[in-house]
Assembly symmetry: C2
Homo-oligomer: 383 residues x 2
């Protein structure tokens, strides 16, 4: 159901010929109203792709009529010509839909440093517009895939209103956000400032804590569009929780589809002095290549967890640290704990708990193991 689960949206996904292999590569999502409130969060990478620079401007008005997304090229590091191409894409969408270009957000994903084939992309916009449908959400989700093995969608339905969405991403996953494009839609009747607040709160503890390989993209974009078609204005807390659930579900799908991964690793930091400490420690553990290799080898190498914690500025005493791997406290008080032979690591999900014994705050970061397949996928061809 994806982005068309909520009322007031149509979508399409087509093959415009941007990808040389002929796979779907262009998606269009249109808000048919009655309202067009929207919010967006973007990569914190300072090297931002042209579509990010454009869409940041679009979102300033808090109004989005349509989102056009392409795979097959990131349009990043493409200079003034790249920005002109993004602008021309928005103008084309505006023209075929009869809207203003400044209400058209643009997202691109694929290889950095290559100009998009505009001779294929612009006609593709017309084709996609002709196929817009209230049932087009699935096709749109498929068209934004790059190295994704599956398309990702999620829907939460509440009393008379819905939040749904689609995501793409399978590598270069790291905060600010993960390498991904996400479009969320809702038929709830809400102002753009409420959407913005709910979206920032949701991404902060979901996409921002999905850290597959520590690499931050130039194109990350998460958009939330509200049509108001349900004619219902939910309580903020309930709405925010629905957005968080959809983001959390999509974030989990990203981790499960991460390039080359054989393990999904939940790094839970507990008893931290502050949430910032918990996040810093969680990220340090999640980004430790030696640990990620050990997990791949099903080796409960807690020494590498402690070594990673030790590189942070978080509040802790080395001789009070505790670490559990899949429920076995293999490290107690900074030293040897329970028998590591008790740790069962046969399954895909691995759960590491790092107890800082310094307070009561917590944070969970998701990451993946480091595998020969990851190396292969990211060395055998440009992506």
């Amino acid at each position: 159901m994806s982005v068309t689960a909520a009322k007031g949206f149509t979508a399409a996904g087509i093959a415009a010929g941007i990808k040389e292999n002929g796979n779907p590569d262009l998606a269009l999502v249109v808000n048919t109203g009655p309202r067009r409130a929207a919010a967006g969060v973007f990569t914190s990478n300072r090297v931002k792709a042209a579509p990010v620079l454009w869409s940041e401007q679009v979102l300033k008005s808090g109004q989005v009529s349509a989102v056009v997304l392409n795979s097959g090229g990131a349009n990043a590091c493409t200079g003034p010509k790249g920005f002109q191409d993004t602008h021309a894409t928005a103008e084309k969408v505006a023209e075929v839909l009869g809207r203003g270009a400044i209400e058209v957000a643009v997202c691109s994903t694929g290889l950095i440093g290559v100009l998009l084939p505009m001779d294929k992309l612009l006609p593709g916009v017309e084709t996609a517009a002709a196929q817009l449908s209230e049932h087009g959400g699935e096709k749109a989700a498929i068209a934004i895939k790059t190295t994704d093995t599956v398309h990702k969608t999620s829907v939460v339905t509440k009393d008379g209103w819905t939040v749904g969405g689609m995501a793409k991403g399978a590598g270069m996953l790291a905060p600010g956000l993960a390498t991904m494009l996400v479009v969320l839609t809702t038929d709830a009747d809400l102002d753009d400032d409420v959407l913005d607040k709910a979206l920032r709160a949701a991404t902060r503890t979901t996409f921002d804590r999905v850290d597959s390989d520590g690499c931050m993209s130039t194109n990350d974009t998460v958009l939330l569009l509200a049509s108001g078609a349900a004619g219902v204005t939910p309580e903020y807390a309930e709405f925010a929780e629905a957005v968080r659930q959809v983001c959390d579900d999509l974030g989990q799908q990203l981790i499960r589809d991460a390039e080359g991964a054989s393990k999904d690793i939940k790094v839970e930091v507990v008893n931290a002095a502050t949430e910032d400490d918990a996040v810093e420690v969680g990220r340090s553990i999640a980004r430790n290549n030696l640990l990620k290799c050990a997990i791949h080898g099903e080796d409960p190498n807690w020494g590498r967890v402690l070594s990673a914690i030790g590189t942070t500025k978080a509040a802790f005493e080395p001789d009070r640290l505790n670490v559990a791997i899949n429920g076995v406290w293999v490290c107690k008080n900074g030293g040897v704990g329970e028998d590591r032979e008790k740790v069962d690591m046969r399954y895909r999900e691995v759960h590491i708990v790092a107890d800082l014994a310094a307070g009561s705050e917590t944070a969970t970061i998701w990451t993946n193991d480091l595998t020969a397949d990851y190396v292969h996928e990211n060395s055998a061809y440009s992506s």
Copy 2:
């Protein structure tokens, strides 16, 4: 020649039985004087192994008579018993040499979280002491190897005085320092404060900029011992440069022997506003797993370089960045530059230049590519 190239030192390396495979695992380096001035720098990891905690105390006096080093176990995260074992090792060395234990530095390397077999280590100290020789430097260098494929030594000889040294390290290489033990010796006649100044200056631009896999060890130790046996007190600048040369040479040897690596990558950041900016950008590039995979695949993927630069706080404008790979400026002004097909990446050394166009400072960070062999070496068994 190693640590016995300089006059006034003896050394030995033996197999004490700490390693189950029977390889050499215990080294002893003794300063026979007339002086015993010394300096040391240690890991900045807050989770420090017992021998680091001990040796930090030893170095406070600025006097070191002997260094005992073992491979086969890091004695890290081993609690009070681990510290007692380090202390007992120093006491044993002191006893057999007739010196004070507080003048005996201890270094350990190997798996974290395992107690050392003291029933083998302590008799090994006696065996090593019996084999001390002015020609023992090579054997000492061999005895500290872990996953190293070669032992590492370096010597610089000047007018009447010498600086020599040995190093071990082949993974978990990252600043603060690399995962390594290094003992440097000189027969120059110098005070400990001069040694300290020269050693800190040297490590800051050598070992601290060797960043194979971003993982920081619990055991890193670099010691510099001066016997004064040459009876010569060199100018500070000349001495500091000799120490820097030996550190630089040993650091290069560490990178060339990094676990599983097929490329040595020199990341040179130029035209930075400050040296700190240059180092931050260099580290960000050196730690980008996607780029390290691309280099392994001989793919001059400059988009991943820009993406890594964009995650830093350094001063730069995205549209003024330039990147050269092996002499070809593949990125100019933040966009496509010279033809990437011109880049020849067949050889082991790869040279990346990142031009921030923001000032005149520079820094060079060395790293390795990310390979399936790295994953294998660090997942197939505990280390």
